[in-house]
């Protein structure tokens, strides 16, 4: 087990290093100078040069890369060019929106998908199965931003149950925050839930065809008991992979949804930073997301081991 964890850890670190280089290179070749962006149409060239110097943009790229990476190691992401404030603060402000949103959406999606998938699998071929699968087909096919648009129209503008967007901040109360995140979380979660339910169902059906289910039935377990006691945990392995992927997707992929609901999250930070050529913010946030994804995958791998004892001794 320890060895397994260590092996995964090493590849995690290597991945991070490679990722940081890739991110830096890709972003640095982007055309557009943050200084001239900030100074606008009437700025004079020497003003731009002065600002470049002030922002530390006039040193070599290699030097900037190392400053950036070593900074990150000590938890210092640098200072945003346009916001002029420490990136770690910017990120911290945004994470308290994006992370709860992702978790909320993930919980919603799991809470919807698990029962739906299990129900469909246990009613395989029946009317229940057909309707759940039909719904998931629809769920998978609907672009989430479109769904979000329609939800805003119905629930915020017509019914006025929820506010149309924005985020009051957690200091204004937990309930208010959750309420503000509800519509976004639903728009994010439903398509994911549809995918998850499908995976859950097909993975359960695979399991139901396994010999050990037959053994369980021979012991006297009913179809349902066999499903719950033996199939679900085994079916969890592919489902975990999907959940891991979804979490990372939700964290960054909220970008459009954050736009629709004008939530001050990480996605919108990146989006704004890209258009403002606030390169260092883009680099740091992308790096952070990659880091999260890699760590989540790592966690999923470890979670596998928890679910699947075969992995604990292997490797």
């Amino acid at each position: 087990m320890i060895r397994y964890v260590f092996g995964r850890l090493l590849s995690l670190v290597i991945s991070l290093i490679v990722a940081s280089v890739v991110i830096f290179v890709v972003i640095e070749i982007a055309p557009g100078d943050p200084a001239s962006f900030m100074l606008g149409l009437n700025a004079q060239p020497e003003t731009v040069a002065a600002l470049r110097a002030e922002l530390g943009l006039d040193v070599s790229k290699v030097e900037r890369y190392f400053t950036w990476v070593t900074g990150m190691l000590s938890g210092d992401f640098g200072t945003s060019y346009t916001y002029r404030s420490p990136i770690s603060e910017l990120i911290a402000d945004r994470v308290v929106v994006s992370l709860p949103l992702a978790i909320y959406a993930l919980i919603l999606s799991t809470v919807i998908a698990f029962p739906a998938g299990i129900y469909a699998a246990s009613r395989r071929g029946g009317v229940g199965d057909m309707s759940v699968m039909g719904a998931t087909q629809l769920g998978v096919a609907i672009p989430n931003f479109w769904f979000a648009m329609i939800m805003v129209l119905i629930f915020a503008i017509n019914l006025r149950w929820f506010s149309a967007g924005g985020f009051p901040g957690w200091d204004k109360g937990f309930f208010g925050g959750i309420k503000a995140l509800t519509l976004p979380a639903i728009s994010l979660a439903l398509p994911q839930a549809a995918i998850l339910a499908r995976v859950m169902r097909s993975s359960l059906l695979d399991m139901l065809g396994e010999d050990f289910i037959r053994s369980a039935r021979a012991k006297g377990l009913s179809q349902r008991q066999a499903l719950w006691k033996h199939a679900v945990r085994n079916a969890l392995i592919p489902v975990l992979t999907i959940i891991g992927l979804q979490f990372s997707f939700l964290l960054a992929g909220g970008i459009i949804i954050e736009q629709v609901f004008f939530l001050p999250g990480l996605g919108r930070l990146i989006f704004q930073a890209i258009s403002a050529r606030d390169l260092i913010v883009v680099e740091s946030v992308v790096m952070l997301l990659v880091f999260v994804v890699i760590v989540v995958n790592f966690a999923v791998d470890i979670a596998y081991a928890a679910v699947d004892p075969r992995l604990r001794t292997k490797t």
Partner: protein, 469 residues
């Protein structure tokens, strides 16, 4: 109820009006948190602000400003002539990062005469000096608080900066030690909503009390029809032009530029892209300015004539060029319509949508474009035509001479004449396609009074606001 929530499209990147070009900074900070020697009123008039009065020497070279007494910065320090000297010197310094450094170019020296008197000496007479000092980029800041100004702005205004939830909102609270008249509103929250759908939803759901610069003109009729709201359709200083690269063939040929100008149906663009709000212009000048000359007839919509002119210029079969568009919807939507109109006379304009940073790099700095659409929002900016290196690269010594003369002229009548001459010259040279003056739609709750209708400078002046009983 003494608080308001005002939505605007763009979030300021930072809060230092003297350190960047972003209009969004002024929108929130101008006159609310920071004040200059003079300021703009909502009709564009320049009135005294921190300088209560001033004397101008006979030769127009020396301005003596008399500062208001008892003015305190939000950090409790007093505002005096030293701060004015610091602010102006900082803005014009060698390593200044002021985006409008040109405003200060004519200043030769700034001296503190006594704590409440400042003498500014110019190197040459400047007819627009008081106007220049009203800009957000010329506000008075203090040396003590300058280091953190971008994130913790300390000004002299009626409102103090209190909180900024980045990506979401900025909160201002009333400054109880304000030297001037106390405003009605206690706290003002600025929310940043750039997505038009979200903007519509936020107003409809009454999440915000006002939306200044509403991004989706197509939704205005719905607000008109709704008794909860009032819609203001104000104007801005934004001349929206179809910029042509005057040094790049075929736009170096005035016939081609004239043809393009006649190929454009302004009204269709205003209707299609802006749902009817916006005033057509025929030159680079704001129509609400008393000195404006209506020259739209010079470039009336006449596709036949445009084809004829193209043929005359040797482009019977038309030509292909680029149309590079920055992000605002007037440009993106207008671009689509203009491309269709140009296609009609045989000009194939290939659209590429750029982000601002890219647009600045490629179009503005790189001058690598055929056509572009952009709104020039600085007030009184016809002088950009005197700069041959400006991105559309209009190089006409006659025009440059007019501008030099204008700079040195203080007499209003003479200025008017010169401005009329300048407007006509660029219109007849078809330097750019002149489209419309950008409108500024504001949606407010019916009970909220005092919102600026027009935008002589980017600002949401909270001091003017109050709730009807």
């Amino acid at each position: 109820n003494d608080s308001v929530t005002i939505a605007v499209q763009l979030e300021p990147p930072n809060l230092d009006p003297t350190g960047g070009a972003a209009q969004a900074i002024d929108t929130v900070m101008y006159h609310n948190v920071f004040e200059g020697l003079t300021r703009f009123e909502s009709d564009g008039a320049v009135v005294p602000s921190l300088a209560q009065s001033w004397d101008i020497s006979e030769d127009g070279l020396t301005y003596t400003f008399h500062l208001a007494a008892g003015v305190m910065f939000h950090d409790g320090t007093a505002m005096d002539s030293a701060d004015v000297v610091f602010s102006l010197d900082r803005a014009r310094a060698e390593d200044s990062t002021n985006a409008q450094k040109a405003l200060f170019e004519s200043i030769a020296s700034v001296e503190a005469v006594d704590p409440l008197t400042v003498k500014v000496t110019l190197s040459q007479p400047n007819g627009s000096f008081l106007f220049n000092m009203a800009w957000g980029d010329a506000v008075i800041v203090a040396e003590e608080s300058i280091a953190d100004i971008a994130t913790n702005p300390i000004g002299t205004g009626a409102y103090k900066f209190s909180d900024w939830a980045q990506g979401d909102k900025i909160e201002l609270t009333r400054n109880d030690d304000y030297w001037g008249e106390a405003p009605a509103i206690e706290t003002a929250t600025f929310r940043f909503i750039s997505d038009p759908t979200a903007a519509f939803a936020a107003v409809m759901a009454e999440d915000v009390d006002a939306f200044a610069g509403f991004p989706a003109p197509e939704n205005l009729p719905q607000f008109d029809a709704d008794p909860r709201f009032t819609v203001l359709r104000g104007n801005t200083e934004g001349e929206t032009i179809l910029a042509m690269n005057n040094k790049m063939p075929p736009f170096d040929d005035v016939l081609v530029r004239e043809a393009v100008s006649h190929a454009i149906d302004r009204q269709a663009i205003i209707d299609g892209a802006l749902y009817g709000i916006g005033t057509p212009i025929g030159t680079h000048f704001a129509p609400h300015n008393p000195d404006y000359v209506d020259l739209t007839a010079n470039s009336n919509y006449d596709p036949e004539k445009a084809r004829a002119l193209l043929a005359e210029a040797g482009f019977e079969d038309g030509f292909t060029t680029t149309l590079k568009l920055p992000p605002p919807s007037y440009a993106r939507r207008g671009g689509e319509i203009i491309a269709a109109q140009l296609r009609d006379v045989g000009i194939e304009a290939e659209i590429s949508n750029l982000e601002w940073a890219q647009w600045l790099e490629e179009v503005f700095n790189g001058k690598d474009f055929g056509l572009s659409i952009v709104s020039h929002t600085e007030p009184m900016d016809i002088s950009i035509y005197a700069n041959p290196d400006y991105y559309f690269q209009y190089d006409n010594p006659d025009f440059q001479a007019i501008m030099t003369e204008l700079e040195a002229t203080a007499d209003p009548a003479a200025r008017s004449a010169l401005l009329a001459q300048a407007q006509t010259m660029i219109s007849e040279d078809y330097v750019n396609g002149y489209l419309f003056e950008l409108a500024y739609p504001t949606v407010v709750k019916a009970e909220l009074q005092g919102m600026w209708e027009n935008q002589p400078t980017a600002s949401v002046d909270v001091t003017a606001l109050s709730w009807a009983e």
